[in-house]
Symmetry: C2
Subunit: 288 residues, 2 copies
């Protein structure tokens, strides 16, 4: 399949729907709504919403029922980026090739824009079906036992000696849980059975780890132009990364092996899973 054409079409679909579901920039409080739109509509791969849509299709459903959950995932992901970039956290000035939210606006606005996007994610899910299951899936993935917990340990691990167990905790939670939720949420909207859900969960766990390893690799090997954000920042901040722990070559080999395993997990789903098979490679080949 033509992955680039597929990605472009889905991205357009997601962007158009986000545009419709976000408060308009003029609506009071205008600065807050402008900031929310700025960070959410700044581009980005839309990987999580696309995984959600593709997972619905992979188990025989349509994309329509998965659209609100897909948007919720992107709102939630964008809030994590805004908060992670704050001076008290990773202190980054550049994101997706543009000034980060607190640089473009101010810290208070960035904190509030993140809070509002996190809340909006659950508002969108409340309008989807099956709402309760979807909310639970996203909340568990995003909270102190998920993304927020991963970021907390990531910050705490700066400067500490490499530790394989801790690194796995960070990666699984900070990145993996949300990709897992993306696949499972899409499948839930399509009424997936337990076997289908299990296949997608395995797939997501593998690409989640591969994605994070690729991120660590790119932070060393890429340029700011390719990445749209600072490079070499992991080493500068003494971050615990796969590259720091295992070296560049071993990290690359590990990511490649995970992709093969992820694709194998999709076998039982057959042809409708073709976009997910292709997307697995995208998670490590991406340059931004």
């Amino acid at each position: 399949m033509d992955l680039n054409a597929y990605l472009a079409a889905r991205r357009q679909e997601v962007d158009a729907a986000l545009e419709r579901h976000l408060p308009r920039a003029e609506e009071q409080p205008a600065r807050l709504h402008t900031a929310m739109r700025y960070s959410l509509l700044a581009g980005g791969k839309r990987l999580r919403p696309i995984l959600c849509l593709a997972s619905a299709e992979a188990v025989g459903g349509g994309r329509e029922a998965a659209l609100l959950p897909a948007l919720a995932l992107e709102c939630l992901h964008t809030y994590t980026l805004i908060h992670d970039d704050l001076p008290a956290m990773d202190d980054d000035d550049l994101r997706r090739g543009l000034p980060t939210c607190h640089k473009k606006f101010d810290e208070a606005t960035a904190i509030l824009a993140g809070d509002a996007l996190l809340t909006l994610a659950f508002e969108l899910l409340a309008r989807a079906t099956p709402a309760a299951q979807l909310v639970l899936e996203l909340a568990e993935a995003a909270g102190s036992r998920g993304v927020v917990g991963g970021q907390a340990e990531d910050l705490a691990a700066e400067g500490r000696a490499p530790d394989a167990e801790l690194l796995e905790f960070i990666h699984t939670n900070k990145t993996g849980k949300l990709l897992r939720a993306a696949c499972r949420m899409g499948a839930l909207t399509a009424g997936a059975d337990a076997g289908q859900l299990a296949a997608l969960t395995t797939y997501a766990a593998k690409i989640g780890l591969a994605f994070q390893i690729a991120d660590d690799v790119l932070n060393v090997t890429s340029t700011p132009q390719q990445l749209g954000k600072a490079v070499g920042s992991d080493a500068a901040r003494k971050k615990m990364t796969y590259v720091a722990l295992y070296g560049l070559e071993t990290a690359r080999a590990k990511a490649a092996a995970l992709i093969v395993e992820a694709q194998a997990a999709l076998k039982p789903l057959g042809t409708p899973a073709a976009p997910l098979v292709a997307l697995a490679e995208f998670t490590v080949r991406r340059s931004s």
Copy 2:
């Protein structure tokens, strides 16, 4: 009725349930979970959860079904306090008589603890019934068209000339919407009909405004010991308040009138609404 005994009993009920539903302090990431517990279990009036429980009873339901939504409201309320206290926002050092979260821990931990509590609120709601309606109610009350929007305009209004319309926007959103959600969510768990829901919504709007006026008054007339936080800070930060706009006496009279109107709105509900009638006076008589 003996309001103080009623409040003490409900508070104990809420505190015990919070204790059960929060991640333990030792669970990884321990510093994050410790911070969440520190801010959530630091005391507080538990006004929102108690309004939720009392509203369920006021329409003929039991408290049990309203318990998870009640906890969700307190998690959400506590997250707003943690984020509002941050240096980039209101920059407060003291809350409920204790160091604020970022003072006790650090800014990154405070931001993440707030994020995690906001997320936990929706996780708790996903386990309640009717989950979708409850999530929608809370998300709408809490987002950029609710609490977050009110805080954004509150910050933006500092130092500006008093403006009655803007002040109403701030108060309605920053404080009123969550009290409104508390009453409506409790009633929803008890299967309230449209008339009962309308009565509670009117009640909540009135006490919400009275509560905020009382807050403005207390910031001028109280002591740090009574309030558990700094006093006079509104004037120092040139906050737009009811007192600044109308003067102390007019503000007090307005609050008193609102309480009478709030109580009148409950007439159709009869005896089961007795705790809510008493709670209305509490919202303006409280000293902390």
